[in-house]
């Protein structure tokens, strides 16, 4: 089974801090994704990566950056955390080949609170 592991289940940080959310997958997937989940809004894509050091902006990239130095690891960075970034963050991965019907596999999420 695919395993996507997010480093923290709950995280509390202060306004202005630099925050790192880590995600690791164990299935050699090329694609990795970061989503934000808010009530009534569903999941919204922040960034995704289709290869090491490659990234593409999603629908809501403002205030975030990402890093993918190794294939299995994809980090989401909040450069200067703000209270409106309090949310649930979900990481996902998928196999290469955009023509495949294979789904994305998700981690358990990190519930981040910015005080």
């Amino acid at each position: 089974d695919v395993k996507v592991t997010q480093s923290s289940r709950y995280l509390v940080k202060r306004t202005g801090e630099k925050v790192f959310l880590e995600c690791v997958q164990d299935m050699d997937h090329e694609n990795m994704f970061w989503y934000r989940q808010d009530p009534g809004l569903g999941l919204r894509l922040i960034y995704f990566s289709y290869d090491v050091k490659m990234k593409e902006k999603g629908d809501i990239p403002e205030g975030y950056s990402v890093s993918r130095e190794k294939k299995e690891r994809f980090s989401l960075i909040l450069e200067s955390a703000s209270t409106n970034q309090t949310s649930m963050y979900l990481c996902a991965s998928s196999i290469p080949g955009p023509y495949s019907n294979q789904p994305q596999h998700f981690g358990d999420g990190t519930r981040l609170s910015i005080l």
């Binding site: 694609n31 569903g42 999941l43 919204r44 894509l45 023509y99 019907n101 998700f106 358990d108």
Partner: protein
Amino acid sequence: AQTVTQSQPEMSVQEAETVTLSCTYDTSESNYYLFWYKQPPSRQMILVIRQEAYKQQNATENRFSVNFQKAAKSFSLKISDSQLGDTAMYFCAFRLWGGSRLTFGEGTQLTVNP
């Protein structure tokens, strides 16, 4: 841009009964994939069922089936013989054929009552 709409924020059903969750989407493309994901209180997103747009036959996975109506751009999920473990948030998602990104709906919170 593609959009996905789930118009039912909350639904409830009695154990052993059948329930249908609605999903509509908007796209100008003809080839794409549709998915239903389930997110129980444990937060782990789990794939429930998938449908390729070029297939006319509706997908089925045990108690879960879809009603895919391409012309109407509708993709509803039917859960038969509902079980307490079906209590979860359900998300409808769309992906273009040839793309990697998923577009999600707002979600429907389903509660199965004993």
